[in-house]
């Protein structure tokens, strides 16, 4: 099971993500730089969190237009598993690989804390090692995680089971519609989520609730 991590200037949870993939997958991911136009043959492509290009335009907007993102889109169209976390989620939305948008948190403040996530669909390739309705712990750290979609889109993704994770037990930290924390595309091979499962994978993190997500995403390829 081979994985790749996309590197863009300003991303800063790349090291966290590389550590998680290495510790769980047993093998370090390859890294792909912003100007690369091809991605090696891998089973999982991850866009980590951070502030690509400073988030000086709209979060993820500049990144979505970099050469490497055309390559990500091609791989996604071929059915390769793609996952974007935090800024990675914002980039996937800006690149049109996922529906909807992420607005500034309702509090208008950056927020870093632990929340509860409900597995809203345990049948995706990212969540099938959790139980349907299971509630897990997961940290968040973002300024723009307030998920929004127009009514028709929202109805469609809800109807098609595209909502993978929902903030649970009243812990919605940002005002997201329907408590949406993570979604998959219609084909089910692209996941975007605001919380950081890579920061809850070992005892030193105080819990391992995020592990099963990586095991699922990596395990598929094995």
């Amino acid at each position: 099971m081979k994985s790749a991590v996309i590197l863009l200037p300003g991303l800063n949870r790349d090291r966290d993500m590389i550590a998680a993939l290495t510790k769980i997958g047993g093998k370090a991911p390859v890294t792909v730089w912003q100007t690369d136009t091809e991605i090696p043959d891998v089973d999982l492509i991850v866009i980590p969190g951070g502030f690509s290009y400073g988030d000086y335009l709209r979060c993820g907007a500049i990144a979505a237009r970099m050469p490497v993102m055309r390559a990500v889109a091609e791989k996604a169209a071929q059915g390769v598993t793609v996952m974007g976390v935090c800024n990675g989620f914002q980039i996937l939305l800006e690149a049109g690989l996922l529906p909807g948008a992420l607005m500034r948190n309702a509090s208008l403040k950056f927020v870093c804390r632990e929340v509860k996530l409900e597995i809203a669909n345990a049948e995706t390739r990212f969540t099938d090692r959790y139980a349907q309705g299971q509630v897990i712990r997961c940290p968040i750290a973002h300024h723009d995680g307030n998920y929004f979609a127009d009514e028709a889109t929202l109805a469609r993704i809800e109807g098609e089971g595209q909502v993978a994770f929902r903030y649970a037990e009243g812990t919605n930290p940002n005002g997201s519609l329907n408590d949406i924390a993570g979604i998959v595309n219609a084909e089910g091979n692209v996941l975007g989520m605001m919380p950081h499962p890579e920061n809850l994978i070992e005892d030193a993190h105080g819990g391992t609730d995020g592990r099963a997500l990586f095991e699922a995403a990596l395990g598929r390829a094995a």
Binding site: P9, N12, R15, A20, F51, G54, D55, F110, C112, P139
Partner: protein, 739 residues
Amino acid sequence: MTLSNTIPITDELVASHGLKPDEYQRILDLIGREPSFTELGIFSAMWNEHCSYKSSKKWLKTLPTTGPRVLQGPGENAGVVDIGDGQAVVFKMESHNHPSYIEPYQGAATGVGGILRDVFTMGARPVAAMNALRFGAPDHPKTQHLVVGVVAGVGGYGNSFGVPTVGGEVEFDPSYNGNCLVNAFAAGLADTDKIFLSQAKGVGLPVVYLGAKTGRDGVGGATMASAEFDDDIEEKRPTVQVGDPFTEKCLLEACLELMKTGAVIAIQDMGAAGLTCSAVEMGAKGDLGIELDLDAVPVREERMSAYEMMLSESQERMLMVLSPEKEEEAEAIFRKWGLDFAIVGKTTDDLRFRVLHQGEEVANLPIKELGDEAPEYDRPWVESPKAALPDFSALAAIDPADALLKLIGSANLSSRRWVWEQYDTLIQGNSLQRPGGDAGVVRVEGHETKALAFASDVTPRYVEADPFEGGKQAVAECWRNLCATGALPLAATDNLNFGNPERPEIMGQLVGAIKGIGEACRALDFPIVSGNVSLYNETNGKAIMPTPTIGGVGLIDDWSKMARIGFSAEGDAILLVCKSNMWGTHLAQSAYMRDLHERRDGPPPPVDLAHERKAGEFVRDAIQDGRITACHDLSDGGLAVAVAEMAMASSIGAAISLPMPTDPTPVLFGEDQGRYLLTVPRADKELLREIIDEGAARGLVVAWIGETGGTELKLPGTRAISVKDLKARHESWFPDFMD
């Protein structure tokens, strides 16, 4: 606007550069002629208080700065301390007070940016940040605005750069009404054989400019930071720099990548007084001259004068001396990260600092004297009068439960969650203890068991009441907070914030505090390896409380045994490690007297450094042996607040007794120093006896004062309070104040 180099030098111009007439005379004597306008700017940048430490140097020299683990003490960008296995921790704390008051978001943001740059300039990847923030009274009209801006600025920069903020302080006091304090700390990890210094070596080598472009922002910032405030402060806004954390993150990665190639001979970040300070420092330290060609400097704006380029404090810039044969490789790395790379000068053998601009030599000064001959003052000082112990026998009685609820729900002792939830406390995946405990703890990446602990402390009201004891206490409390996690305290950084040193009573505070800090650091083997002095923290002649912030670093050998403040189980015995059989009853200068009786008289609690050391070593040993289940030091609010904090952190209640039938108030709220609370399973009677006996054998009192359990906190002589109510009170002050 352009500022010509031919502007005539008048008395007013000299004064507006913060130079006194005798200091200007010193310049005339030194160079034997009238300086050019650019040269005057260079002198003002090098000789202001902020860069030259002219009032404090005499006293700073008395601080202990060496130790078996110290690889680099004060004088470089940051201190360096050996942590074993070929690795070192690199750290420093620095103030950004004046800019933050003028423009809170950018002032605080660039304070964080500056301290991070100091750390990675030395070759270290930043792994932890803290910040000590002090604001005016909550009801002062500017306070809320400053808190919003400063907290957002600290977060905005640190979060985007990608360093976890693991600790800090937030305090409110009217003395900061016109002058808030923003003290930013950063620490990084480096290999001991790959530490980079600012000393240039070799003649004729390229001096390279890296990072962001130079603009007009921050021109004269260091001079501004060395002046008192008055009502015209708004006019100073253009002297505050604008931060760009994205560029800084790229600069970090590019610098670390470049350092690996072996191309870097010397490196210095451009902080206060930008290009001037960094170039002079690199040359002077290496006994070399520097020649700069300003036409090669990447600029953001057109028609910038030499004066502006030399004094710009644009952020995210570095100056390096590179091996000529690696120039191309170096340039490629910087281009990859989208950063400017320009050869702007060379090292020379004539010991002159020469600046060329548009074919003209605009400055030609002796480089060593620019730094070494800066004025140094032995300013007159008077010792602060010592207060007698007040008579508190006629104090109005207050129910201890009411007092506790008021204290933990007050501006200064309430939860800081509102603040630290705006900081990324988790990034890098190594945070073992986040804000809210005694110290922040970060795992050493790549090592199975090692971790570093970080704490920042000072109790300004103690320092005001007795600078010497207060200085000791700041060090002792920081050291204690590290011990309370089980860490071996290694070394510290000091950030000395005071008023106008030209006033003897303020100078007396500075001298007293430095003496106290020195004494405590020597007694606790806790050397000062870096630091910063911020003077003139006054507005309209009113000084802040003396605030010597101490940032400490400790090493934990095995983090699986690390202690936390929350109770870990019901049925644990609670032990108080202290000095006296009465446990401690010193109420003068306590949070209790300030917040419940509005009294600020009397001396602070004295610090017995021999006891402090014994208590710390005892606690540390007990933690490292894995014998205790929780630990917390006692500080503001005394025993009652410490027990309450342990209960709130765990949602487990506790019942506390008294040493003898007596008035519970001094026992519960006294702030005697050198005290810790420990818990051990009550069922393990042997262990309990062992710990108590061992404490006694080491000359300590280890009193069994109560037990954990239930959902209520039961203090002696009053009603029980549910932990839920305590938490609600503790958590509500900040959001109620801010939102």
